[in-house]
C-alpha cells in the first residue's frame, strides 16, 4: 500500500510516571526493573481496603497542583528533547491539546467539602480550583497563544488528544502542538473504581486468566508535534488516528468491540498501513475482565499474530494520561527496536485469545498501534512510526 504523508512529526517527547521520570528511564525500567504497586500513601487514612496504586510521589500530602506539576515536567522534557527552550515557542502558534479524565474536577473535593459543611470557601482553595484546568494552566504557564483544548474522553483522552493535536498540525492550524495527557491520583477516582469493584487488591494482570481489575496510577506524557515536512530532526511520526463510539453503555464496552474495530480500521486506513506492516500493538490492557476480553477479541480479529504489549502492570492505569504515556512508550520501543515483557501477564486466557509478551521481542518493522478504550464507549487508536534505521 503506498505510504501517505504523516499527520505530524514527533520532535519531542516528555514522559513521567511511576515507571520513570523520563521516557528513557521508563523504557529502561520496563525492560529491567519494573515498579510494583503499593497501597496509596496519600489517602491511606481515608480508605479501609488498600487497593495498590502506582504513585509518582510517595509523600502524604502532595501539593494541590501535583497533576499540573507532572504535566509541566513532561512539557519541559518534550521541548528540551526537541532541542528547544520554552522561549523558542513564544514566537510561534503553538497549540495545546491535553487529555485528562477529570476536566474541571481537579482539586474540587476540598472546596466542595467546605461548602458541604457550611463553611466559607477559603480563598486559597478557590484560587487553586480556578487554575486547575490542565490545558488552560499549561497555556498560561508557558505563555502560549494558540488553540487550547482539554480532551475529556475519559480513559481514551490521552490517545485522542495526540490524534487531535496531529490533525491540527495536518490542517495547518498550528506551527507546533503540545499534545498528550496528565492525571494525578485522587481520592475521587480511587473510591469510584474501588466501589465499581474493578480495582484489584493485588498487582494487576492485564490479559491474564486470573485478572481481577486495575491498579490506578498517575503521570503525564506529551509529544511536541510539528508538520510532517519539518526540516528539524524527528523522533517519529503520527501516521493515523481513529476515534469511534460504541454507542452502547456508560461503563461497559460493546461485547463485539464495535467502536474499537471502527477506530482501528480508520486509523489504519488513514495511515495506509496493513496488518502485515504492524510490528506490535501497545494495548489498553487494564486488567479488568470486560476490557481485556473485548480488546483481545478485536486484536485477534484485526491484527492476528501481531505481538501485544501491555504496560499497565508497570505504570498503573493513569486514566486520561494512559493513552499518551502508552504512545510515548510505543514510539520509544519502535526506536529501540524491541518491546519488553508485559508485567503481570502469566497465564493465557482462551476467552481473551491474545497473549502479551512474556519476554523481550525484537521488532520487525517501524510501525505500531496504540489503542485506548474508555467509559462512555470512547475508543481511540494511533498509528505511530519510529525513526530507527
Amino acid at each position: 500500500m503506498p505510504r501517505t504523508p504523516a499527520l505530524a512529526t514527533v520532535t519531542g517527547i516528555g514522559c513521567v510516571c511511576a515507571a520513570g521520570r523520563s521516557l528513557e528511564a521508563v523504557l529502561d525500567n520496563l525492560e529491567a526493573n519494573p515498579p510494583v504497586p503499593e497501597p496509596p500513601k496519600r489517602f491511606l487514612e481515608v480508605v479501609e481496603t488498600p487497593y495498590p496504586v502506582f504513585e509518582v510521589r510517595d509523600d502524604l500530602e502532595p501539593p494541590a497542583d501535583h497533576g499540573l506539576a507532572l504535566l509541566l515536567e513532561s512539557a519541559l522534557q518534550a521541548v528540551a528533547t526537541a532541542g528547544l527552550a520554552p522561549k523558542d515557542l513564544l514566537c510561534k502558534c503553538v497549540g495545546i491539546c491535553i487529555g485528562s479524565s477529570v476536566g474541571f474536577a481537579v482539586n474540587y473535593l476540598p472546596l466542595y467539602k467546605a461548602w458541604h459543611q457550611g463553611n466559607a470557601l477559603p480563598k486559597a482553595l478557590l484560587d487553586v480550583f480556578r487554575h486547575s484546568n490542565y490545558a488552560l494552566s499549561l497555556k498560561e504557564r508557558l505563555g502560549l497563544t494558540g488553540p487550547c483544548q482539554l480532551v475529556a474522553n475519559a480513559c481514551a483522552s490521552g490517545t485522542d488528544s495526540i490524534g487531535i493535536g496531529a490533525s491540527w498540525i495536518a490542517s495547518g492550524m498550528c506551527d507546533m502542538v503540545l499534545a498528550g495527557g496528565a492525571e494525578s491520583l485522587s481520592i475521587v477516582s480511587y473510591l469510584g473504581f474501588s466501589r465499581l469493584m474493578i480495582a484489584d487488591t493485588a498487582p494487576c494482570r492485564p490479559f491474564d486468566r486470573t485478572r481481577n481489575g486495575l491498579n490506578l496510577g498517575e503521570g503525564a506524557a506529551l509529544f511536541l508535534l510539528e508538520p510532517a515536512a519539518t526540516p528539524r530532526p524527528g523522533l517519529g511520526y503520527i501516521r493515523g488516528y481513529g476515534s469511534a463510539s460504541d454507542a452502547f453503555h456508560l461503563t461497559a464496552p460493546h461485547p463485539a468491540g464495535r467502536g474499537l474495530r471502527r477506530a482501528m480500521a480508520e486509523a489504519m486506513r488513514q495511515a495506509a498501513v496493513t496488518p502485515r506492516e504492524v510490528a506490535f500493538i501497545n494495548a489498553h490492557g487494564t486488567g479488568t475482565r470486560d476490557n481485556d476480553k473485548v480488546e483481545g477479541l478485536v486484536i485477534r480479529n484485526l491484527l492476528p499474530d501481531i505481538p501485544v504489549l501491555a504496560t499497565k502492570g508497570a505504570t498503573g492505569h493513569t486514566l486520561g494520561a494512559a493513552g499518551a504515556i502508552e504512545a510515548s512508550i510505543t514510539l520509544g520501543c519502535l526506536n529501540r527496536g524491541t518491546i519488553p515483557a508485559s508485567h503481570g501477564f502469566c497465564k493465557s486466557d482462551p476467552e481473551v485469545g491474545v497473549n502479551p509478551t512474556t519476554h523481550p521481542v525484537k521488532l520487525e518493522s517501524r510501525i505500531a498501534l496504540s489503542d485506548s478504550l474508555a467509559f462512555g464507549g470512547s475508543n481511540a487508536v494511533l498509528v505511530l512510526e519510529g525513526k530507527r534505521k
Partner: protein
C-alpha cells in the same frame, strides 16, 4: 481552512434569558425547548419513554434534548456524523451527588452509580447511545476557550474527510455552588437549571446554512495586547448561543465576533448571517 456553515440550532433550557432570544426564536432552522428541567423532561418524553429516561439527570436530559432538536431543525438524516460536546464544568450535579455520598456515608457509602455519571464525557456518551452515533465523539471540558478550539477540531475533522457533518454543542449546569465559585459571573443569574445548545456543522456551500463560520482567531504570538486577568464566565453553552446574535440587528447583526476569555487568555469566533437572497 475549509469554510463551515452552521446549518441549524437546537436549544434546551432557560433559553428566554439568552441574548437576542426574540430575534432568533421561531426561525425554522432554530428549534428550542424553553424552560427549566421540568419542561425539558416533558419535551423529551415526546421522544422517549419515562423508563428510558429514568437514569438521566437534568444535565443529561437537557443535553440530549438540545442535540435532538438541532438534528430535527437540520431536517435531513445527517451523513457521516461526528459529535463534539463542550462543557465548562462537566456533570457537576452528578459529581456533587458522588461527593455527598462519600462525605455523608464514608468511603464504603460512596455511590458507584453516581461515580459512573461523573465521567466528563457522560453527556456525549448519552447522546451517542440515544441517537446511535458510532462515529468520532469528543468531549471538551474547560471553562474558557472551549468552543474556539473545539470548532477548529470540527473544521479539521471535516477538512480531512473524517466526517461530513458535526453535531457540535455545549451543556452546563450553573447550580448554586457554581455561583459561589464565580460570583462575578452575570450570566449565572439566568441559569438555575441546565442549558444546552447544539448546532449542525457542515462544509459551506453557497447560501446554505444559518450562519457562516468566518474565522476562529487566536492572538498572534507577537501580539502585546493582553486582556486583564478576570474569571468572567464565557462558558461554552453561552458562547454557542451568543453566535446567534449575528441574526439580531440590535446586537450588530450580519457579521459578529464573539470573544472567549479566561484569565487573560482570549480567542474570537467570527460568524456571519447567511440570509437567503440577502447575502453581503
Amino acid at each position: 481552512m475549509i469554510p463551515l456553515a452552521i446549518r441549524s440550532y437546537g436549544i434546551a433550557g432557560i433559553a428566554e434569558g439568552l441574548p437576542g432570544y426574540i430575534q432568533w426564536s421561531g426561525q425554522p432552522s432554530i428549534r428550542t425547548a424553553v424552560g427549566g428541567a421540568k419542561a425539558v423532561n416533558e419535551a423529551l418524553k415526546t421522544y422517549y419513554s419515562p423508563l428510558k429516561l429514568r437514569r438521566l439527570d437534568a444535565y443529561l436530559q437537557t443535553a440530549l434534548l438540545a442535540a435532538k432538536l438541532a438534528l430535527e431543525a437540520y431536517g435531513e438524516p445527517p451523513i457521516d456524523l461526528g459529535l463534539i460536546v463542550c462543557t465548562g464544568y462537566g456533570p457537576m450535579p452528578a459529581t456533587n451527588v458522588f461527593m455527598d455520598s462519600f462525605l455523608d456515608f464514608g468511603p464504603q457509602g460512596a455511590s458507584p452509580t453516581a461515580f459512573s455519571q461523573t465521567v466528563h464525557n457522560v453527556a456525549a456518551s448519552t447522546i451517542s447511545m440515544f441517537l446511535d452515533f458510532q462515529g468520532p465523539v469528543l468531549s471538551v471540558s474547560q471553562p474558557g476557550l472551549a468552543c474556539s478550539s473545539a470548532l477548529l477540531t470540527a473544521q479539521s475533522w471535516i477538512g480531512q474527510g473524517l466526517v461530513k457533518t458535526v453535531l457540535f454543542g455545549a451543556v452546563d449546569d450553573a447550580q448554586p455552588f457554581l455561583r459561589l465559585l464565580f460570583p462575578q459571573c452575570k450570566q449565572s443569574k439566568i441559569t438555575y437549571d441546565p442549558i444546552a445548545t447544539f448546532v449542525v456543522l457542515t462544509k459551506r456551500h453557497a447560501t446554505q446554512g444559518l450562519l457562516e463560520l468566518v474565522e476562529v482567531g487566536f492572538p498572534s504570538p507577537t501580539s502585546n495586547t493582553k486582556p486583564p486577568p478576570t474569571h468572567a464566565c464565557s462558558t461554552p453553552a453561552w458562547i454557542v448561543t451568543q453566535l446567534l446574535s449575528a441574526l439580531d440587528p440590535s446586537q450588530g447583526g450580519r457579521k459578529i465576533s464573539i470573544k472567549e476569555t479566561w484569565n487573560g487568555l482570549t480567542a474570537a469566533i467570527c460568524v456571519r448571517a447567511t440570509a437567503s437572497g440577502d447575502r453581503s
